[in-house]
């Protein structure tokens, strides 16, 4: 495998996320901290899920392949549920912290809004999830080898990279929608987020039939993106103003003449 594969897959997987990080988060120290805290929460959820899976494997029949696969599927579902639980826990923690700060400062505004926190925490979850999914694969792609020599799919790296990109962006969208749903007590939206996460994970069970898994994932990605856009306050009008550089508030805030 060549350097082209390595760099290509790395940029496919992490390009949008790194761009988002550099342009919107890197300059604000508070956001960076909450991003890393979000990544930490995802990590803890993964740890718990792995622990349960590990224990279940130890007490199971190690020779039966179907049982192992079943346990793996169980592990995936459990991990998804735990991730969403920890997302909720992170939301609660952030709310408490924000309320505490608000009470202390007697101020009207908080240094970071709950929407920004939703975005940042979603991206933190996404970064960690994507990194854990794909970094080992990328490291292997630098070394020697032939992809699919035993009859497996030859598009392993590429599909992994695309799937990772989808997952990272999905986590970000899920974060935005999730926090908003918690804020407005819309539990159906919460359930929809959890369900879509489960659907995306279960779609990957069809790998290596990438058409069956990647295409629906990207459709869900697009839909979630639109939902998150509207949740965050976007609209077609905003979009038009932004794209034609006529958004006065934004220009003022960035001191650009128009």
């Amino acid at each position: 495998m060549t350097a082209a594969v390595f760099f290509g897959c790395t940029f496919i997987a992490f390009g949008p996320a790194i761009a988002l990080f550099l342009f919107t988060i890197a300059r604000e120290p508070l956001r960076v901290i909450f991003l890393i805290a979000g990544a930490f929460f995802w990590l803890v959820s993964l740890l718990l899920a792995s622990l349960v899976w590990f224990i279940s494997v130890q007490i199971s029949n190690k020779d039966s392949a179907s049982q192992q696969k079943g346990l793996l599927i169980f592990g995936v579902v459990l991990s998804v549920l735990l991730q969403e639980t920890f997302r909720f826990a992170y939301y609660k923690l952030l709310k408490k912290a924000n309320e505490g700060l608000l009470a202390l400062s007697q101020e009207e505004t908080m240094p970071i809004s709950i929407r920004q926190l939703a975005y940042v925490s979603g991206l933190g979850f996404g970064f960690m999830s994507g990194a854990f999914s794909v970094v080992n694969i990328l490291a292997d792609s630098v070394g020697p080898g032939t992809v699919g020599i035993h009859g497996d799919s030859q598009h392993y790296f590429l599909s992994s990279a695309f799937m990772t990109m989808a997952i990272i962006l999905l986590h970000m969208f899920w974060g935005v929608v999730f926090f908003d749903a918690c804020e407005k007590q819309r539990w159906w939206a919460l359930a929809a987020v959890v369900t879509s996460h489960l659907v995306v994970s279960c779609l990957t069970f069809q790998n290596p039939e990438y058409v069956a898994s990647l295409v629906p994932t990207y459709i869900i990605l697009f839909l979630m993106g639109v939902w998150a856009f509207y949740t965050a306050g976007g609209s077609l009008r905003n979009l038009k103003l932004c794209l034609t550089c006529k958004d006065k508030d934004f220009l003022l805030a960035n001191h650009r003449p128009r």
């Binding site: 930490f40 990590l43 792995s50 590990f54 999830s129 854990f132 999914s133 490291a139 990957t204």
Partner: protein, 487 residues
């Protein structure tokens, strides 16, 4: 033992938080705490040299009295807006400082991990480790190995404790020249010898042909500029870069020469010792800090990474400790640098991302601990806003972290990237855990406003995540990647 120089370094990390007067909450306790600023630093001892232990005094944040420091101008209490702004500013200011420490810690870890992954020299087995870890770990039974590693760790921590106390004694009896010389020699060794080894190994790895003349010129320039930046004056970024490089070199040395179980045990033991030494009333670090406070001297930081330039202390010249560590047999060496900051009698600098255009740094002391032990202490203190000889009580915002902390963090992450079978997930997990630990420590610093050890929380998180990720998450993720399942 004459040939074996053993340096015990106590790295005392002090995190100082300077608060701008105008932004500090007008609480008396804060003001008082501002006055104390002592840093604790780590020191290294050298065997043949009689083991000077250097000890940067760390200021104890808990002592309310400030040495002759007039309270800086306090904003009037009655203005509500100021309080609100203060609160928000405090939060943002605190976040900025956290990031100012995240970046160098991340850089150091990246350098160490990159080196470990590419240069195989640092992961090759050594026949005989350091003099401080005489019990081999290549034993037949697990129990024997455990016992050996416990003995190794005990030896190391004993050396560290002894060195720390020697340092405290030296400081108490004002043997500054000894410390000064030791520090100087140890940084010399680190900047020249260890970087020479590093460079040659990198050249070997990438098959770069280089003649000795060019190499000599490169090493000479690197070393001399490093000595100047660290011990004298230099641009802040360059000094920071050198400190990061030195910490990375030291961490690599540790990774190479400490056997595996010993390394983990040492991390645990040093964290516990850090905790005790900084917080207990009889802890040597605390004694050091208090002594320095009584004498109203700046505690010479062994090796302190400073995010902003610091203030000048006029009287610091006479009691600047320098240490040089000598290394006899083992190539390990730790150098610690102590930075002495003196308040700049100039206009107040506004803290903007740690960039202050008007700082002058006078000297930094470098302490080089030998391979045997290294102690890192971390104290979080607030800088004294004024020293008696200095009229200006301008405080600059900045955060300081001892180099020993850098070294141990990087050592943990480096070991994680080696021993987990080359698994990147473990490395990433340890990295995030250490950063979160650092964040929590700084949060505690902001809450308690006294010297705190930087090691315990981060190392605890790092170790938990290392073992958990390596043993639980890795098989799970491997299986998932095999089937290309995504969670």
């Amino acid at each position: 033992m004459a040939n074996n120089a053993e340096d015990v370094e106590n790295n005392m990390v002090s995190i100082k938080q300077d608060q701008q007067e105008s932004n500090t909450a007008p609480e008396p306790i804060q003001q008082q705490q501002e006055a104390t600023g002592t840093r604790v630093r780590s020191r290294g001892g050298s065997g043949p040299g009689g083991g000077d232990s250097e000890d940067g005094g760390g200021g104890s944040g808990s002592s309310p009295e400030q040495n002759g420091q007039p309270p800086t101008s306090r904003p009037s209490r009655g203005v509500e807006n100021e309080e609100d702004e203060d609160e928000e500013m405090t939060l943002k200011y605190g976040a900025k400082h956290v990031i100012m420490l995240f970046v160098p810690v991340t850089l150091c870890m990246v350098v160490v991990v990159a080196t470990i992954k590419s240069v195989s020299f640092y992961t090759q087995n050594v026949g005989q480790g350091m003099i401080y870890t005489p019990f081999p770990e290549k034993t037949d039974t697990v129990a024997e190995r455990a016992v050996n590693s416990i003995l190794n760790a005990t030896i190391m921590i004993t050396v560290i404790i002894v060195m720390t106390f020697v340092l405290v004694l030296l400081y108490k009896y004002r043997c500054y020249k000894v410390i000064h010389g030791w520090l100087f020699l140890s940084s010399l060794l680190l900047l020249f010898f260890f970087s020479y080894i590093y460079l040659t190994e990198v050249f070997k790895t990438y098959n770069v042909a280089m003649d000795y003349f060019t190499l000599a010129i490169i090493i000479w320039n690197f070393g001399v500029v490093g000595m100047m930046c660290i011990h004298w004056k230099g641009p802040l970024r360059l000094q920071q870069a050198y400190l990061i490089m030195i910490s990375a070199l030291m961490a690599l040395v540790f990774i190479k020469y400490l056997p595996e179980w010993t390394a983990w045990l040492i991390l645990v033991v040093i964290s516990v010792y850090d905790l005790l030494a900084v917080l207990c009333p009889i802890g040597p670090l605390r004694i050091l800090v208090e002594t320095a406070q009584e004498r109203n001297e700046p505690i010479f930081p062994a090796l302190i990474y400073s995010s902003t330039m610091v203030w000048l202390v006029n009287m610091a010249d006479t009691d600047r400790p320098k240490r040089s560590s000598e290394e006899a047999g083992s190539p390990q060496q730790e150098t610690q640098e102590a930075a002495v900051a003196s308040p700049v009698p100039s206009s107040p600098s506004q803290d903007n991302g740690g960039f202050t255009s008007s700082w002058v740094r006078q000297q930094q002391h470098q302490l080089g601990p030998l391979q045997s032990t290294e102690e890192t202490r971390r104290e979080i203190q607030q800088m004294p806003s004024a020293r008696p000889p200095v009229e200006d009580d301008e405080e600059e915002r900045g955060v300081k972290l001892g180099l020993g902390d850098f070294i141990f963090y990087s050592m943990l992450v480096g070991k994680a990237s080696v021993t987990a079978g080359g698994d990147w997930n473990t490395t990433l997990a340890c990295f995030v855990a250490i950063l979160i630990g650092l964040c929590l420590t700084l949060l505690l610093l902001a809450i308690f406003k006294k010297a705190l050890p930087a090691l315990p929380i981060s190392i605890f998180f790092g170790l938990v995540f290392y073992f958990a990720t390596g043993n639980l998450v890795r098989p799970f993720m491997d299986k998932l990647a095999l089937h290309q399942f995504y969670i």
